[in-house]
């Protein structure tokens, strides 16, 4: 019995490790810093991360307030101004149907971010739970699950998404499903490797000994301790999801006209009129590039910030 209590103490200590460290830091600091001060310190340490974070913030705000920011309706056709060059009226010009490209890019950010965030969050979260469960249960379940993950990971992301979209059909909902599914095994594999080490820590044994259910052990005691790789995966997935959505839409398998979507803006008229009206292709392409760049950079910075090894160097 004494041994069991000792194991429980170790488990509790392990579970509270992160909290204890935080407490120590707070104790060591003479004055508690404000949120803005912390933000400023982070920006100094991770300037690229700060820039990319700002870009993402702007993108999110633009997406939320698209109806107010966009100077024109993104789907209204104005044939008198077909393929108009950038001007004061149309900042980034118009497409072949006379629609304002600037407004379509603004509204397209909504499509990109909705698909990007939802598929990244759902895919990574399901991967997190499955990865941790696989590591925790081990044995036959782990063996079979990892082989399934191997099968999924054998396909390039775009091929997998294409296959899923061709089964379910196009449209925002189906594109989200198509992008989410390939993310699950990717996240599960990464998270599992962290969870395997976690499984060996005695507090997990203690939790078992206390009679906690598998669900409780996985969700309450293990998942919170693999949040760092999870968060990094989520941010990198958002960028990948935006790129995938754009690719699927470009191939005609993603969202459909007249919905404003960056990839969609690159097909059809953009291909046909690229030489005579380059703005129809350049600006949506730039929007995709900047968005993916921002999320990738932010993911890198987050990794640097959360990885203790990189933080110490």
């Amino acid at each position: 019995m004494r041994g069991l209590i000792r194991a429980f103490d170790i488990a509790e200590a392990g579970r509270n490790k992160v909290m204890n460290v935080a407490t120590t830091t707070v104790d060591a600091a003479p004055v508690e810093k404000t949120f803005l001060q912390k933000l400023g310190r982070m920006a100094r340490r991770q300037p690229l991360g700060a820039v990319s974070g700002m870009m993402i913030l702007i993108m999110v705000l633009v997406a939320i307030f698209a109806d107010f920011v966009a100077p024109h309706d993104p789907v209204t056709m104005n044939f008198i101004d077909q393929l108009a060059a950038p001007s004061a009226t149309y900042l980034l010009g118009t497409d072949e149907l006379g629609r304002d490209i600037f407004s379509r890019i603004i509204h397209g950010s909504r499509t990109a971010l909705v698909i990007g965030f939802v598929s990244a969050f759902v895919g990574a979260t399901l991967g997190l739970v499955l990865g941790v469960t696989s590591a925790y249960l081990g044995g036959l379940f782990d063996l079979i699950f990892q082989r399934i993950v191997d099968i999924f990971m054998a396909f390039p992301l775009i091929i997998m998404a294409l296959a899923i979209v061709s089964v379910f059909g196009s449209g925002v909902g189906n594109v989200i499903i198509a992008i989410t599914i390939p993310f699950i095994p990717k996240c599960a594999r990464v998270v599992r490797s962290s969870a395997l080490a976690l499984r060996e820590i005695p507090y997990i044994d203690a939790a078992r000994a206390c009679g906690y259910s598998h669900t409780r052990i996985v969700l309450v005691h293990m998942v919170p301790n693999v949040m760092a790789p999870y968060l990094i995966m989520v941010t990198s997935f958002v960028g990948q999801a935006i790129l995938l959505e754009a690719s699927l839409s470009y191939l005609g398998l993603g969202v459909q006209e007249p919905t404003a979507a960056w990839g969609l803006m690159l097909r059809g008229g953009a291909e046909q009129f690229f030489e005579s009206a380059p703005w129809v292709a350049i600006f949506p392409g730039l929007a995709i590039t900047l968005a993916v760049f921002a999320f990738n950079l932010f993911g890198d910075s987050l990794r640097d910030a959360l990885d203790p090894k990189l933080r110490s160097t």
Binding site: Q82, L97, G169, S170, E257, G268
Partner: protein, 543 residues
């Protein structure tokens, strides 16, 4: 807009057409020899049997290997009523027995490419398969021949068609380019043989077919039109993507694409190739429809359907969409410019064609309100995943309907699922649909709008016997003037009174080919002019 260089090329093309048209008269003779490569802008056809298929993807690769009984004059394909004998001799026969009997005399000495003689038995067997297909055999144009009672072959060189009633639609139907003459022996052995094999008596003999990749043929030395074909060899290359087709023409890897290009691509090709490119343009016997699903609410209500048609700015659309898509002409259910087509004044007397667009749209809004349509709901427009012109027109329609408060989203599907939705599932509110025909034959072409139980190609789930009666009255009318009047009644009922379906815009065909490719003339259909027996290559044109 058609640029100056494009205009110059069109003019040059027209001049070239005139020149070749009068080739015999001015002493210029076609050149012999050469290997002609053309692009087939499609994927592999479902089968090689033209009797059962409806796509140009089977005509473009397979037509050069076959003969037909009649055909549109290859030297004057712009005239939809100029038919000439292909396998028959002399002029197109006049009917006897009060217009109910047509007797054709066949050329003698015609052989299939395997050396067996082609006789009236082969012609009869082919038309029996088309008109009276046995169970389990599909015939896409069976309904075109409702007037035919029987086909007979009294001797080796005579074929007789006995009609139930005299019909001006019979000869045009007979001249359809899909009516390949097959070998009776092959059909008797296996009626599905031609779905996977090619054996005809046409100007070229099959050398190789790689499904979806390419098809190659060599000159038929025993072709019955003496001196033809001029080419030694032909190769059709399947290339579904427009960018590949354009690069093939620009890089001189292919000399022609026969379906057509959008205006911008025409301008780009002319800008790149100069006088090495020839442009030929024509109205196109193809139209995109918007077909409401009459079995779902609220589109079972004529007020809602009327609102849909009233919202569409066809005259403006013609002006603007023709700059970016292969559509242009405003028309009714009949191919514009043909003998039974509506005039502009007649069109403008129908809802959806009137001059005052704002008044029409205001009326449309009132009708929607009166019908109690839920404007907060998003309805589904089923569309085909083909950019030109399906998706362009689809997006345009959504914009037009949005202006009267109706919100639609597009459900864009590849061809297979698109047809499955139209034919079996029926899970759409409104669908883009099309009516593309080869021969301009208005009485038959307009059978598309008959009740769905009579013509399954009417995908609107419509049953209306009054509409069918109006069609039949028009079809059976022998007097051209009265037939035109009856066509107007039928058209008005379909498009105005009941708004069963909606015509969007008729297509406009713009072909671009290398100038060294001679003798070919544009027609109102991309199914015509594909035998390639009267075309040749002139290497001097590239110098």
């Amino acid at each position: 807009m058609l640029g100056f260089r494009a205009l110059a090329a069109v003019t040059a093309g027209a001049a070239a057409m005139l020149a070749t048209g009068f080739a015999a008269a001015d002493g210029h003779k076609p050149k012999y020899g050469g290997h002609f490569t053309f692009v087939i802008p499609a994927k592999a056809p479902p089968s090689l049997d033209a009797h059962r298929e409806t796509t140009y993807a089977v005509i473009h690769p397979a037509r050069p290997f076959y003969s037909t009984l009649l055909r549109v004059n290859p030297n004057n394909p712009a005239d939809p009523a100029d038919f000439v004998c292909d396998l028959c001799v002399g002029d197109v026969p006049k009917p006897s027995n009060k217009g109910k009997t047509y007797t054709f005399t066949l050329r003698s000495g015609v052989k299939f490419h395997d050396g067996t003689p082609l006789t009236s038995a082969d012609v009869k067997a082919s038309f029996d398969k088309i008109i009276f297909p046995p169970e389990g055999v599909s015939s896409a144009r069976k309904s075109f021949y409702q007037m035919v009672d029987s086909v007979a072959a009294p001797n080796a060189t005579t074929v007789v068609f006995n009609l139930k009633y005299a019909s001006s639609a019979f000869i045009p139907a007979l001249a359809a380019p899909y009516n390949f003459i097959y070998s009776k022996a092959k059909l008797d052995a296996d009626i599905h043989w031609y779905e996977k094999n090619i054996l005809g008596s046409g100007p070229f003999i099959l050398e190789e077919y790689q499904s979806g990749a390419q098809i190659t043929g060599r000159k038929n030395p025993d072709y019955y039109l003496k001196g033809q074909p001029y080419l030694d060899k032909i190769t059709g290359v399947f290339a579904n993507k427009e960018s590949i087709q354009v690069q093939a023409l620009r890089g001189n890897r292919a000399s022609a694409q026969f379906r057509g290009f959008p205006p911008k691509t025409r301008d780009d090709l002319v800008a790149a190739l100069g006088d090495k490119a020839t442009v030929q343009e024509s109205d196109w016997n193809c139209v995109l429809l918007a077909t409401p699903n009459h079995s779902v609410k609220p589109f079972d209500d004529v007020r809602v359907r009327r609102a849909l048609t009233l919202a569409v700015d066809r005259w403006g659309g013609s002006q603007y969409l023709s700059k970016i898509a292969i559509v242009k002409t405003v028309g009714g259910i009949v191919f514009p410019g043909s003998n039974l087509a509506a005039t502009k004044a007649e069109l403008m007397d129908m809802d959806g064609y009137r001059e005052d667009l704002e008044a029409s749209r205001e009326r449309a809004r009132s009708l929607l309100k009166e019908a109690g349509v839920d404007l907060s709901k998003t309805y589904v427009l089923n569309n085909r995943a083909v950019d030109q012109p399906y998706k362009v027109v689809g997006v345009w329609l959504l914009d037009q309907w949005r202006q009267i408060g109706l919100n639609f989203e597009q459900k864009v599907q590849p061809t297979g699922p698109f047809y499955a939705t139209l034919r079996e599932k029926g899970d759409f509110d409104v669908s883009i649909d099309f009516n593309c025909q080869s021969i301009v034959n208005p009485p038959i072409d307009t059978s598309k709008y008959l009740s769905s139980d009579i013509n399954p190609q009417n995908y609107g789930r419509i049953i209306d016997r009054k509409m069918d009666d109006l069609y039949n009255a028009m079809l059976l009318e022998a007097d051209p003037k009265k037939q035109r009047e009856k066509m107007r009644e039928y058209e008005r009922y379909v498009l105005h009174d009941e708004v069963k379906q909606m015509i969007t815009l008729w297509w406009y065909r713009t072909t671009v080919h290398r100038s060294h490719f001679k003798g070919w003339k544009v027609s109102p259909s991309h199914y015509l002019g594909q035998a390639l027996d009267n075309v040749w290559l002139d290497p001097d044109a590239d110098k």
